[in-house]
């Protein structure tokens, strides 16, 4: 079989990617469209005002760009949050506020520039009215990031509340189990990471405050908390970032 082959010399400058190069090259057109998509997301994000809108906007979220511009909150995050809480108990009678100490573990991933998704769990201990309360939760966490530094978290999952009362030298334990919901507001600091615009991921310190509604059976536990979250963002690998040519390989 006769086979002949022509192949051209290829000039790398013609396949450089990035928003600054005007071209009709089909390879680059994807980069251009990516920028357009990104701008669209920013516009959408600024319009987010309520959690319910998340569900309505999910199809738009899913239209993700292929390559992303480097950002600090990128990749997976792992977060530890020591917290101080004030706990209110609503049972046959109301108790509280009880001071409480505890912590949260969170892990997840930045899905877009303005939405993270992950898991969150926490436990804390409170005392008051001759009762000791251990309560905790585990569930799904969605974090909305309308701006670069402010974020709002929504958590939903299951929780427990164990009350222990010392009665005649005996410990009487009453347990509750059920759905738990939480709302948090956060502000991120990135110590030492703002100078490099091409850096993806890094360490973040995040003061946060929020409220939790515990198992809402016959006994409900409400808590208001403040905490300082220490988070590590892994960032994205180079092949998923929109980088200039000299940094891309």
């Amino acid at each position: 079989m006769r086979r002949i082959q022509y192949r051209p010399v290829f000039e790398p400058k013609d396949v450089a990617w990035g928003p600054k190069i005007e071209t009709n090259d089909s390879r680059r057109s994807r980069t251009v469209s990516h920028d357009e998509v990104s701008q669209g997301h920013e516009g959408t994000a600024s319009a987010m005002v309520a959690v319910l809108l998340v569900m309505l906007l999910l199809p738009a979220i899913a239209a993700a760009e292929t390559l992303e511009k480097p950002a600090l909150k990128q990749g997976y995050y792992f977060s530890l949050t020591p917290a101080f809480e004030l706990v209110f108990v609503d049972s046959k009678q109301n108790f509280g506020p009880w001071p409480s100490g505890g912590g949260q573990l969170r892990m997840g991933e930045a899905l877009t520039r303005w939405l993270d998704l992950g898991l969150a769990g926490g436990v804390s201990v409170a005392k008051g009215n001759d009762l000791r309360l251990i309560h905790g939760h585990f569930g799904v966490e969605a974090t909305l990031k309308p701006t670069r530094f402010w974020a709002f978290g929504v958590q939903a999952g299951m929780g427990f509340a164990d009350f222990t009362r010392q009665k005649s030298g005996m410990a009487e334990v009453i347990g509750r189990f059920g759905a738990t919901y939480g709302l948090t507001v956060q502000y991120d600091f990135f110590p030492g990471s703002r100078k490099d615009p091409l850096k993806s991921g890094g360490l973040a310190l995040t003061p946060m405050a929020g409220v939790y509604l515990g198992p809402a059976d016959t006994t409900s536990v409400y808590s208001i908390f403040i905490g300082l979250s220490v988070s590590w963002w892994t960032g994205l690998s180079k092949n998923k970032l929109d980088l200039p040519l000299e940094k891309a390989f």
Binding site: Y6, P8, F10, V15, M158, A179, F249
Partner: protein
Amino acid sequence: MMRNNWIAVVLAAYVLGIVPLAAASVSAQTDDGASAQTDASPASDEAPQEVVPPILKQEVPAEYPPRALEERITSEVILEIDIDETGMVEGVQVVVPASPAGYGFDEAAVDAANLFEFEPATQGGLPIPVRITYRTVFQLAEKTEPPGVTMDTDANNDGSTVQNAPAEDKEVERILNFKGTLRERGTRLPLVGVTVTIFKGMGNLAVGYEAITDADGKFEFYNLKPGTWMLLSEPEGYFPLRTRDDVRENELTEATYYVERSEYNPYDVLVEGEKLRKEISRKSLKTEVIERVPGTFGDVLTVVKNLPGVARTTAAAGNIVVRGSSPEDTQVFVDGVEVPIIYHFGGLRSVIPLGMLDGLDFYPGNFSSEFGRATGGVVDVRLKRLRPQKIGGYVDVNLADSGVYLEAPIGKKAAVAAAFRRSYIDGIINAVVPDDASVNLITAPRYYDYQLLGNYRPNKDNEFTGFFFGSDDELKLLFDNPAEFSPDLTATSGTTSTSFYRTVLEHRYTPSSGFNNVFKTSAGRNKVFVGLGDQIYLDLNTYVAQIYDKFSVGISDNVRIAAGVDYLYSIADARIKFPEIGKEGEAGGRPDLSNILYTESTNAANHSVGTFAQLETRFFDRWTIVPGIRFDYFSRVGQSSLAPRLNSRFDITRKWTIKGGIGAYHQEPTFDETDKVFGNPDLGLEKAMHYSVGFEYSPLEYLTLDVTGFYKEMDDLVSRTDATVAQDGTPSPVNYVNGGKGRVYGLEVMLKHEFANNFNGWISYTLSKAMRKDVGDTEWRRFDYDQTHILTLLGSYSLPKNWTLGFRWRIVTGSPSTPRLGAVYSVDDSYYEPRYGKPNSERLPTFHQADLRLDKRWIYDRWILTAYLDVQNIYNSPNVSGYQYNYDSSERRPRQGLPILPVIGVKGEF
């Protein structure tokens, strides 16, 4: 060293479209947006079949016409290439000739295309002839530096590619010093026809070369100068591959690169032609689409319970209640073979794993004459036609069970798959149940299932399938104090077990689109045991065999005849020592252990033969009429039945369709109902008439609204009677007669969003009323599962970064229940005998529940890990599943159903 600054040509070829040469009537959209049309002849009743485009495995670049090269003329030619089922080029036509004409572009393009070789296009795994549109681009490129290298796109990697550089280049020795393979990350599938660029330097100093991967994903570069080169590839839909590689003097650099898709979406593999719709109420579900439905634990069959017409049953019930029919009125088939159970204990897991399934068809009513022996609905589970390109499979681990699935190609014509799954609920429960509990679990609910599937296609006309599968469920209990449960209970142990296996052999013969024949035979065993020691038990051991043949002949483009025979034989041993068995509509309560009946039979043979025929006609390309008839004979009741059925659809426009159907259906009573001790051997067939009328509206390609009104009338239902007959001079209870009646009517609405815009899901609503009238009753009563409103909202979003979010919300009218009006104290038994109100005269509170599911996929080079969190009843709705009464039935408290329940699982695919 090449002297000419012009090395000729970029030859770019694009497959623009694919059209099967056979009659095409149904359009499908391929992944890349190209239009593909499938050969779905009007009478085809095969499952929706995927059209796989041909793959260019041997590209022969066109020779640049010398005069055009000399005059630096560029052009392009659009061709149509006919490719036969072996992948060879049958003919090439110029659709859009080159401009300017006269330089020989057309001839060069045609000559080259005639030498192409393809992997043939396939439909449903069978090679088909197709016509593709192909563009050949003749383009000049300026050389910036004498490369001394070549670009190799040798598709066969056989060294036959000849660099067509000017003659001066041929003095350069070709030295292969870089070769690589491009594979998709996670799946390891080769990336075919992808441009790979290697370069060094920047800006005007840069030099680089391209190659295109062949059918195995391989590419090669020759004569690269030593040094560090940058490799770039940007396949559409993938993250770019950017890497650096060193090329050393006199060394061959070889590497495999795994390129990650920007989204690993299980839905985007769905490229299928919808088969001709002949049924009125069929709901088809693809495995990939429903795998991530919350609350189903990734089990495809459990999703059936979210379709319109299906009543909500208790969480642990493994049955399907369809349009007001009893669970035993609905038949479940696995590729046409009847199976005794489809769910393991608890109804959470089906007995066929996901990997083996292609999908399922669900018929809540008015099913065609092909299906029989059922008056309710039909669930037809379709097995996958194995077409693996590599050895692969998955391991699935969750809190309830673990399973493994493996598949492998055997040559180019055969493939095999095997799977096994076992639960470990027994271990979990044994660890949780305290030692001092009054019930000890010897074998807490445990189940396992196993499957072996093989496909062999010696040629395009024939396909052989072998399938061996089975399932085993068992639960054993020990009672420390059986009297706690009933004063008459003396047994200290309880056992329930169900097992079955089947061997299925199938031959499909499809010599042409006008004729096909499916022959299958199956054999196996069902074994059921339920007992409390020797005090009461039910022990059934049944061997079954089935022979099935169906052929379909196209008389003309618009008329097709399908007919077949379906023979079922069983031989059973049975020992039953049981109190009276409760029936639908009867209030529950303590079984009367003081009145235990006994029966046994050995080698009780029964058979049932069914024959069916249907005419599939289509008029004016918009009106489908399918009259059919089915004849069945049932040896156990010694009766035969003739069941005419008619379904019709009329496409008013492309978006609007009206439909209607009417049909007769018959089935045998259950085995205990015809037993001489527990039932009545003189019982006859139960009958039902199905009526349906409705419409479908598809405002968008991915959105369908299906509204169906139905009415079902049931006669000769088996109903309990207090009558007696004289036997040997003593009165003997008749137990049952065929005197019951039933009627069900309602409306089913389904708004279905196929996968588009990263979302798929549906809204399902059923409005119905299901009533029964038992023998001797003058009033109608509610059916056990009469649920007036059933609303299900269900969907999955594909989020970025390989996350999927699924949700389901259900609200259902509470099931009917029979209240207790009090109790009468029995001095003899020291027991308060409850007094019941009218059967099913009150309802449980409305049920509502939301479930959420999150899936996350991690992509590794050679495998994919998926973790999921499935949270049932996420807002912990306190749904009532029944009432628990105190000792004298004077007080009751609700028995709550499933609380919030998170389940975590992981699945590794390779």
